[in-house]
């Protein structure tokens, strides 16, 4: 019996033991036999996934590795859930990672009663897209359902039933979100009461609001109507107009009774009396219309604004009280301005400046003798002097300033010259403190020398407390860039008893240095991970530095492949390591651009009488189309096709006729390019471009086919270099303008020309903005060589130097002074060419030998021309020194170019700006023909408008010296309309 009891107990123990599930502790420390990843039950062997799992077969199981693996997998942004399961495999443990992928909604559908009035599936989809993005996660289905319900309520279906359901396509991991809609009854408007307006007017108000009892209650539409009503009233001067809507639901929410509380308010008129107030500033001073209010606070502020305006002009006693008068539904607000006398500075007396000579203080002062006195300018001067002293170590320095009527000054003969005003500035210097010592405490990882170099403070310098704060920030930034994100720097200073010396201590708590463990790249569908990795300035094992993160973000943005990039840290077990998660959202790979417009400018045309050159305004339509595909094969390669066409009207009248040849010459340009960044794993970007074009110049037209291979590299953000090889076939159209006897020999001998050339350029670009620069400069030097040895029919060497500078004038609101200089030089290689007749037969001389001509010029398409954009007092290509203009006034072009421009760019209002410019330069037949007396000049002005596509400009240039060309005096002006700045 005893044995039976023992057996029973043993069996029960076994049962209990078997029934209890294993604890996590049971698995810890055991060797991992296998690690398997499954996505929705299907095993995966994706190395990108396996690579981020920290648990390894053969290693001992650690929960820290499990946590880190979950963190890595989750951070990839691909999975809604990650679950790690363990099972005993003998003495070992097998791990299974069950991954639930994020299913993004690819399609949104609606079923149910979606045909009911007021329900638009497109509107609902757009609302969902606006709230949750283009590809929301399936787990947002519930939230999306709530949004759909809100939208239906806004359309009068106050009790909608919206049931979302998600159907997942596991093959593509995409889902369809379907909403079943049961809108319920639509609430209609029942009774409408209006308060705040007399009874006879209520019907017209209702009519204007377009509210009819019985119509559906659409909350948003109702709000839009009332807002429009209020806006119309305010536009008519009823600035206090307002409507509030009271809503009462009745009849089980089937009807809604509205109460519209209309407050029209008086019609407000603002008048100014007394001394004149500038008309363009009145709305700024009294913003009743903008604020929609005429309350007392606003009116008092308006008075103060007017008074302060006049005080800045020297009218210290200016007063601008307002008065209200309400009569017959109109509120008249009258601001009566009394400027009082204008105060003018008669003298500025500075006292107490023992340590700083007056010669150093005087240039800082805004108040000058003879100028209008302004108390705000006096306060600014006081603060500026105080800051100067503080910077020099006079920490306790105090500056007092006041003014009074200068009774000693002779009163101005003309009262309009104002009251003489004496300004007194009294300086109380106090003691000057210098830094006696600078100590660094607590820095173990960064040496003293390096820290001292980062800060500007040093022994012997004036003691200026704000400088300490700036140096502390610099030190912290240095640590942050080294990966010490938690570093803290405190700065303490101790003044000596006499206040003359300060000992400064920087107390540093370095904290742990954070290193990068893994770099996880998320969101790249097309782009290869190595394309992204090579742009990162931070790699596994590197310190997680702030500067490296910023640089990485910048480089990724510059790729142009991503709509958004984000770098985030992922913490896991270890305090000193982080994973870096690089999340990218790829831009659409295909871009399509198109557009059109009108090109306008002055061009040279042959006059009907004698064919002499005359300038005409040319208007021609222009259209362009471009399509590009980027990120080819995930390697940031791109291919682009671009086409532009611009037909020019025929005839000197410029009328578009329907007869043959009506459209005249058509300019076009077709371009196909392929770009490969970081070609052959170098830092250079390469491109191949094929061009078909047809262009019109003042004295000739040409058609050209060319192929260009180019490689360029940016060595620093400012400095770059490039080299290219180009082969082109150019065909000149028969010259319509230049007489054959005046055509250059090369043009007669080579109406068709093959050119093969190599060129190189270096650039240095420090402009703050390449489209609208306000500072910096641009330098470039380009050299081109065409030679018969590399397949060119003629040879030449050509160089172009460009130098530009931009400066914002101090104390101005972005007034920019811009300068530009272009120098071009070219020389042809001599070549002997047999003369041919019109049939192409070689012409022989009396001795039977072919007649040979020596040509040294550049072909027409390669010669320099100027006029138009570069010299705005002249029509396109019109400019030329003697020797480059033919007998009828058409330019032939030259081998030397000099153009210099200076322009002052002044912003006006909104996107509008004005410019004034001076242009000088000319085109010379040969470099040695340059003569200062041949430099032509022009001046003018223009308007700029900052449009979404860039600055649109209209320039009117005036020739400063008009010459007689081809027997006719030049026109004095030229007008140009174009996109972009002139330079």
């Amino acid at each position: 019996m005893r044995a039976v009891r023992a057996a029973l107990a043993a069996a029960l123990l076994v049962l209990v033991a078997r029934a209890t599930s294993a604890e996590v502790s049971d698995y810890l420390g055991r060797t991992v036999s296998a690690v398997r990843l499954e996505i929705e039950g299907v095993g995966v062997a994706d190395p990108n996934l396996l690579g981020v799992v920290e648990t390894r077969a053969g290693a001992r199981l650690s929960m820290m590795d499990v946590r880190e693996s979950i963190a890595h997998l989750f951070s990839l942004g691909r999975f809604d859930d990650v679950e790690v399961q363990a099972s005993r495999d003998g003495d070992r443990v097998a791990l299974r990672y069950a991954l639930t992928p994020i299913h993004t909604i690819a399609r949104i559908a609606f079923d149910g009663e979606v045909e009911r009035p007021g329900i638009d599936a497109g509107d609902l989809r757009r609302a969902i897209g606006a709230r949750f993005g283009g590809s929301p996660s399936a787990r947002r289905a519930g939230d999306a359902g709530l949004l759909v319900a809100e939208q239906l309520q806004a359309r009068g279906y106050l009790r909608p039933l919206v049931t979302p359901r998600v159907l997942v396509d596991h093959a593509s991991e995409r889902a369809t979100l379907t909403f079943t809609i049961v809108p319920g009854p639509r609430t209609t408007i029942g009774q409408v009461d209006i308060t705040g307006v007399p009874e006879p007017l209520r019907r017209s108000v209702l009519g204007e609001l377009d509210i009819v009892p019985g119509m559906p209650y659409e909350r948003d539409a109702l709000t839009a109507r009332t807002d429009a009503f209020v806006a119309r009233r305010r536009a008519r001067g009823y600035y206090e107009a307002a409507i509030t809507i009271g809503v009462v639901l009745v009849d089980d929410d089937r009807r809604v009774n509205l109460t519209l509380n209309v407050a029209v308010g008086p019609r407000v008129r603002v008048a100014f009396a007394g001394d004149p107030v500038p008309a363009d500033l009145r709305e700024t001073f009294v913003p009743i219309e903008r604020e929609g209010s005429s309350d007392e606070d606003l009116l008092e502020d308006s008075s103060h604004r007017i008074e302060e305006y006049f005080r800045t002009l020297g009218y210290q006693d200016a007063r601008a009280p307002y008065a209200r008068r309400e009569t017959g539904g109109e509120l008249l607000l009258t601001f009566t301005v009394a400027r009082g006398p204008q105060y003018r500075v008669s003298r500025v007396e500075v006292a107490g400046n023992a340590s700083v000579p007056l010669g150093e203080l005087a240039p800082m002062l805004r108040l000058r003798e003879g100028q209008p006195f302004s108390s705000s300018a006096m306060e600014a001067d006081r603060r500026a002097i105080e800051l100067l002293y503080h910077r020099r170590g006079f920490a306790a320095a105090r500056v007092d300033a006041d003014f009074e009527r200068d009774v000693e000054a002779a009163p101005a003969a003309d009262p309009a010259r104002g009251q003489p005003t004496r300004v007194r500035i009294a300086i109380h210097e106090g003691p000057q403190a210098t830094v006696a010592s600078v100590r660094l405490d607590g820095n173990r990882s960064v040496g003293d020398a390096e820290l001292r170099e980062a800060i500007s403070l040093d022994a012997g310098q004036p003691f200026f407390p704000p400088q300490l704060a700036a140096d502390r920030d610099r030190m912290q930034l240095l640590y942050a860039n080294r990966g010490y994100a938690a570093a803290r720097v405190e700065v303490r200073s101790e003044l000596s008893g006499d206040g003359a010396r300060a000992d400064v201590t920087f107390a540093i708590q370095e904290g742990p240095r954070i290193l990068v463990d893994h770099v996880l790249i998320v969101g790249n569908v097309r782009t290869r991970a190595d394309i992204i990795e090579r742009e990162l300035a931070i790699k596994p094992g590197d310190p997680l530095g702030l500067e490296a993160l910023t640089e990485s973000q910048r480089r990724l943005s510059l790729l142009g492949l991503f709509r958004r990039t984000r770098l985030t840290e992922l913490r896991h077990g270890d305090e000193t390591t982080r994973d870096l998660v690089v999340t990218v959202e790829e831009s659409p790979v295909t871009t399509v651009d198109y557009g059109g417009g009108i090109e306008a400018g002055e061009v040279l045309r042959a006059a009907d009488d004698g064919g002499f050159a005359r300038t005409e305004l040319d208007l021609s339509p222009r259209a362009f189309f471009g399509i590009g595909r980027r990120n080819l094969f995930g390697k940031n390669r791109s291919i682009n096709l671009f086409g532009r066409i611009s037909p020019h009207l025929s005839g000197s009248t410029g009328r578009l006729t329907t007869s043959a040849g009506a459209l005249g010459f058509t300019e076009y340009r077709l371009l196909a390019s392929f770009r490969e960044p970081r070609v052959f794993e170098t830092g250079a970007d390469a491109s191949l471009t094929a061009v078909l074009e047809q262009q019109r110049r003042a004295s000739f037209n040409f058609a050209r086919q060319s192929f260009i291979a180019e490689a360029g590299r940016r060595f620093t953000p400012a400095f770059g270099a490039s080299g290219s090889y180009q082969i082109q076939q150019t065909r000149l159209f028969p010259f319509q303008t230049i007489a054959p006897s005046e055509q250059l020999l090369i043009d007669r001998l080579f109406p068709q020309l093959r050119l093969s050339s190599a060129s190189g350029s270096v650039t240095r670009d420090t402009r703050d903005d390449p489209i609208e620069p306000a500072s910096g400069g641009y330098l470039s030097a380009t050299g081109q060589v065409a030679a018969r040895a590399i397949g060119s029919e003629v040879g030449f060497v050509k160089t172009l130097l460009v130098a530009q500078a931009f400066r914002t004038l101090p104390r101005t609101a972005r007034v920019v002074l811009a300068g530009n200089l272009r120098v071009g030089l070219a020389a042809g290689f001599a070549r002997d060419v047999a003369r041919v007749d019109e049939e192409g037969n070689v012409i022989v001389g009396p001795d039977g030998a072919p007649i040979v001509d020596r040509v040294k010029d550049l072909p027409a398409s390669e010669r320099f021309f100027a006029g138009g954009d570069t010299m705005r007092g002249f029509a396109l290509d019109q400019l030329g020194a003697p020797g480059t203009i033919d007998a009828r006034g058409f330019p032939v072009g030259g081998r030397a170019l000099l153009v210099a421009n200076a322009e002052l760019r002044v912003p006006l209002r909104g996107g509008l700006g004005a410019v004034g410019f001076v242009d000088a330069g000319n085109v010379f037949a040969r470099p040695r023909d340059f003569a200062p007396g041949d430099v032509r000049t022009a001046a003018g002005f223009g308007l700029r408008y900052r449009s979404p596509i860039g600055p649109i400009r209209v320039d009117l240039g005036f020739k400063l010296q008009r010459e007689t060309v081809a027997g006719r005096r030049e026109r004095p002006t030229a007008i140009h309309v174009s996109l972009g700045q002139a330079f």
Binding site: M63, V66, E575
Partner: protein, 173 residues
């Protein structure tokens, strides 16, 4: 009829024991229980919070029903704390918090085993306690007067409404 001898009885009981025992099932070591914004909360986060007293919960509180919501609230508050950077806790306060966490265990070995079960080390625990102290400092700063549990909860409710929170724990129950 077969007489139930002791040997036969023993055999019968052992057969029953082996037949009635459940098949060995996969044990969930860890999983994602909730996602607060971009931050995930795992099962081991919840067990660590229970074992080391990282959230204010009664003894024996249910992991998912009581501790997880508190961890979600903690994550929401940490976002605000990081934004407004309250004063850093002192070393003494941090040491005291670590000591309190250790004191929940009978021995140092038990403490180490608890760390191992939760997949964290002492450094990570210390960092978590530091964040808790920062939260306290932030709440002191924000609700300088009249700080009540209700006021704090109302504020947290507002954070919840503004943040995307995905509770995956439903399938874990």
């Amino acid at each position: 009829m077969i007489e139930p001898t002791p040997r036969r009885l023993l055999l019968l009981l052992m057969l029953v024991a082996s037949a009635g025992a459940p098949a060995r099932a996969d044990e969930v070591l860890d999983r994602v229980l909730a996602v607060v914004g971009d931050h995930m909360i795992t099962l081991t986060d919840v067990t660590a919070a229970r074992d080391f007293g990282l959230v204010d919960a009664p003894a024996g509180a249910d992991l998912v029903r009581e501790i997880l919501p508190r961890l979600i609230d903690r994550e929401l508050m940490l976002v605000e704390v990081d934004r407004y950077a309250p004063p850093e806790p002192g070393v003494e306060a941090l040491d005291a918090a670590m000591g309190a966490a250790r004191a929940r265990f009978a021995s140092e070995e038990a403490f180490e085993r608890a760390l191992e079960r939760s997949g964290i080390n002492a450094g990570r625990l210390r960092e978590t306690l530091r964040q808790n102290l920062r939260i306290d400092a932030y709440l002191d700063q924000r609700f300088t007067r009249g700080r009540t549990a209700q006021i704090v909860q109302d504020w947290i409710d507002g954070l919840r409404r503004r943040t995307e929170i995905v509770d995956l724990s439903i399938t874990a129950r």
